[in-house]
């Protein structure tokens, strides 16, 4: 299984490359922390603080739109 255990709750920084986003909502639905929402057909970071850098959104975005970095790294 792909989920890496979120061992010690990391803080993440997630961004969306809007130009390439096709609005499939995969990132939104598979984010365990509901960080992302759909807005006018594009994924948007709605609750950045919740992000744990688990990377699940990034791994599954088919369009290379999402980058996740661990805060402080």
């Amino acid at each position: 299984m792909s989920q890496e255990p979120a061992a010690k709750k990391k803080k993440g920084h997630v961004t969306v490359r809007e130009a390439w986003c096709k609005g499939c909502a995969i990132c939104v639905e598979f984010c365990p922390e509901q960080v992302l929402v759909m807005e006018r057909g594009k994924a948007t970071v709605a609750y950045p603080d919740r992000c744990t850098a688990c990377n699940l959104c990034e791994l599954r975005c088919p369009d290379f739109c999402i980058t996740v970095s661990v805060k402080g790294e």
Partner: protein, 270 residues
């Protein structure tokens, strides 16, 4: 954060694939696998046939070859036999590999030639708008099966095994990390390696069969995947409609180009 860009032809973006198409997810797993193995871009040759999935090579900064429908494995065989030092990856769809390309598929497996095949199984002909494929389940609809398909399907992986493949694994886009690991193993294997990848086509398959959104189709994989070890304990009825994932074959068998090299070497000595 993994840097995909180093392997991409960014000027060709955005990808032509539909919103929610699984193929982009596979592409990412593939690039991570290539990186993990430390392969040089120059040393990779990626060969595809024709189909949505077969458009993938256009996006990666390798030596890329988009061939004719069903024939990728023949071009790849030529490359591998001519230049065994190249890592040859083959990108193909269920139709490309097992409908029109079925013969090359079983023969490449028989030869156990050192190619790594990523077979994007979306159970449909995506590129041409949703015709029935040898993997479209009985009863499922397609533009050329408006009443539901009446034909039996292939077990793609089983076929590769029977033909002689030395590595066969099955995974899906729900599980991009597993996918990445299988691709790594497949490339490492010296011989014909197949990774059968369930990559949903929401447009040409999902819509017609009311499979819901791309998210629904990926979630389906989550609900219905059964690891191969566990599958052994279930009855055929319990396995009905399930997706058996895992490494299905991993054996040692003589490899085609290596055998040919032995012949060359033998003749050189005599």
């Amino acid at each position: 954060m993994f840097n995909y860009d180093q392997y991409l032809r960014l000027d060709k973006f955005p990808l032509i694939w539909c919103s929610g198409c699984g193929d982009g997810i596979v592409l990412k797993s593939l690039l991570r696998a290539v990186h993990k193995l430390g392969l040089q871009k120059d040393q990779i040759c990626m060969v595809s046939g024709i189909g949505c999935s077969s458009r993938l090579p256009g996006y990666v900064d390798f030596n890329t070859l988009h061939t004719t429908h069903g024939r990728a494995l023949t071009f790849a065989t030529g490359i591998k036999m001519a230049r065994p030092e190249l890592t040859v990856l083959v990108i193909t769809g269920d139709g490309d590999a097992t409908a029109i390309g079925g013969n090359h598929y079983i023969h490449a497996a028989r030869r156990n030639i050192d190619l790594t095949v990523l077979l994007f199984n979306n159970h449909i002909y995506g590129m041409t708008g949703g015709q029935v494929s040898p993997t479209t389940a009985k009863g499922k609809k397609a533009s050329t099966a408006p009443y539901g398909s009446f034909e039996n399907t292939f077990n793609i992986s089983g076929l590769a095994q029977a033909a002689g493949a030395s590595f066969v694994a099955r995974s899906g886009v729900y599980n991009p990390v597993q996918l990445e690991n299988y691709i790594v193993k497949a490339i490492q294997k010296k011989g014909f390696s197949l990774v059968e990848i369930m990559s949903p086509c929401p447009t040409a398959y999902g819509r017609r069969n009311r499979e819901g959104t791309p998210v629904d189709m990926i979630a389906w994989q989550k609900e219905n995947s059964v690891p191969v070890a566990k599958a052994g304990q279930l009855t055929p009825e319990e396995l009905e409609g399930k997706l058996i994932t895992g490494i299905l074959v991993d054996i040692e068998r003589s490899e085609c180009r290596a055998e040919y090299q032995k012949l060359i070497d033998r003749l050189a000595q005599s």
